[in-house]
């Protein structure tokens, strides 16, 4: 497979980024230090290139009904401008991908998929929505995604010249007011200079922030304008390494780690995302209603003392001398904000209660971890 490059690749190279392969894309893993980038997002702001994400549009008079059938959530209950976290389930109740769906019009939805799942999501949507009066377009190559995340994000967008909000003042004088009013998981259509842009108050860091969808040909211009306005406010470019520790602290699941086709939503505490009570038939309904096997493991948070991080795939035991695994780590790191090792893991139900002490095999050495509720970190509200 040939490496794919983001439309912002030139900027990343010039900024001295280190790159990592992510689902066939060469994406910035860090620019300088992942810890510094992480702290910048918690205290000021970071700018991320997420152009590898997939954007699939479902458009037509029956688009809402089609998505109610295709996805786990009740998308027909959303209003224009609203975003909703949802899941694409398979018939046996497993999670094919987790998604954010934006209702950008009465009969128009944008489904944002993980880069690694773009093709399967597009194919499933096409197949599942075929009985309905709607069309599916995979526009992933026609959209770049730039995220500004952190407590100073709104200030940075306001300080950036060139934004205007649809239906608002053409010179953008009301951008600050409109962005201030924009609630979490809501989006506004607008423009950046001559280009349409979707401004969403969404993110994957546990901080306030915005995600901006724009044509790839204008992504550089947008990135540079945000960087110029944001640098004096503490904005730094941030790579995928910091994005991963940020989402882990915020207790947000990552497809391929906490989520997969072998996982039922309820195991990942995502039962609330599945609208079994409020809508009709949808793919996966029967299996979800039947529920996972009685001995299915459940997702928990884990913390420890010291600096030794349990990482994905490490086995968990009831005690230091026990040899029968009762769970497995799905993500782990030393939390940059808290300074202690944190992890997410699937454990047997008997070990899922907070304060339960378990033993993790860290490359041959056993270390005690304690079950805790998620998230590990919650942003302060101002």
């Amino acid at each position: 497979m040939t490496d794919r490059h983001s439309p912002l690749n030139r900027i990343h190279v010039a900024a001295g980024a280190s790159f990592t392969d992510f689902a066939g894309w060469q994406m910035p893993v860090r620019y300088s230090s992942d810890l510094a980038e992480h702290h910048a997002v918690r205290t000021a702001a970071g700018i991320f290139d997420l152009s590898h994400m997939g954007e699939i549009f479902v458009v037509g008079p029956e688009a809402a009904d089609a998505l109610d059938y295709a996805l786990a959530g009740k998308l027909s209950a959303t209003t224009v401008g609203q975003a909703k976290y949802s899941l694409l389930l398979d018939r046996s109740g497993g999670i094919i991908d987790d998604l954010v769906v934006y209702r950008t019009g009465e009969d128009r939805f944008m489904v944002v998929a993980n880069a690694s799942n773009r093709e399967v999501v597009a194919a499933e949507l096409l197949d599942r929505t075929s009985p309905f009066e709607c069309e599916v377009f995979d526009e992933s190559d026609e959209l770049a995604l730039v995220a500004v995340q952190g407590p100073r994000s709104r200030e940075i967008l306001i300080a950036t010249d060139g934004f205007a909000i649809e239906g608002g003042h053409p010179d953008g004088r009301d951008v600050g007011e409109k962005l201030g009013e924009l609630k979490y998981y809501r989006a506004l259509s607008g423009s950046f200079r001559t280009q349409p842009v979707l401004i969403a108050r969404t993110g994957y860091t546990g901080e306030d922030g915005f995600e901006l969808y724009i044509s790839p040909d204008h992504a550089e211009e947008l990135w540079n304008a945000l960087t110029e306005a944001g640098t004096p406010l503490g904005l730094v470019p941030a790579g995928l390494a910091s994005r991963d520790t940020l989402r882990l602290e915020a207790g947000m699941p990552l497809y391929g780690h906490e989520l997969g086709t072998d996982t039922f939503p309820v195991q990942a505490s995502l039962g609330r995302v599945v609208a079994t009570a409020t809508k009709g038939d949808f793919v996966g309904r029967e299996a979800v209603e039947a529920g996972p096997a009685p001995d299915a493991r459940t997702l928990v948070g884990l913390v420890a003392d010291g600096k030794r991080a349990a990482r994905a795939d490490y086995e968990i035991f009831a005690s230091d001398d026990s040899t029968e695994a009762i769970g497995v780590v799905t993500s782990g790191a030393v939390s940059p904000t808290l300074g202690i090792p944190i992890a997410m893991a699937y454990v047997d139900a008997a070990f899922a209660a907070p304060e339960t002490v378990v033993s993790i095999d860290i490359r041959g050495k056993r270390l005690s971890y304690r079950v805790t509720s998620l998230p590990f970190y919650r942003a302060k509200k101002d």
Binding site: S18, S33, L35, T245, K307, A309, A333, R363
Partner: protein, 123 residues
Amino acid sequence: MANESELQYTSEHEWVLVEGTTATVGITAYAAEKLGDVVFVDLPDVGTSLASGSIVGEIESTKSVGELFAPVDGTVLEKNSAVEDTPELVNSDPLGEGWLIKIEFTELPPLLSFDEYTALLGE
């Protein structure tokens, strides 16, 4: 900080400073950069005898775990406790304050020169 052209290297991205029968060992700037921010360093205790090529410690970053290989046969003479307390020294000064262990060795195996190591990185 040691002059990188005067150090010797291993294909495991470690540098070795030979002074008499003492080898000071650390990881190269390239390895530190690849690892990312180092958050934990596990070093062998003083007096541990080491076999060249064996894994004797760990260097953990936020993203991954790097292994410390013994570049020579010998005995641990000293470990850098500063780097255990302040692992970021591995990133800020990999060839200097970020050194890891000193080994008393009996015989020096063939190591790479700076030019040879640089050529290896270019591949």
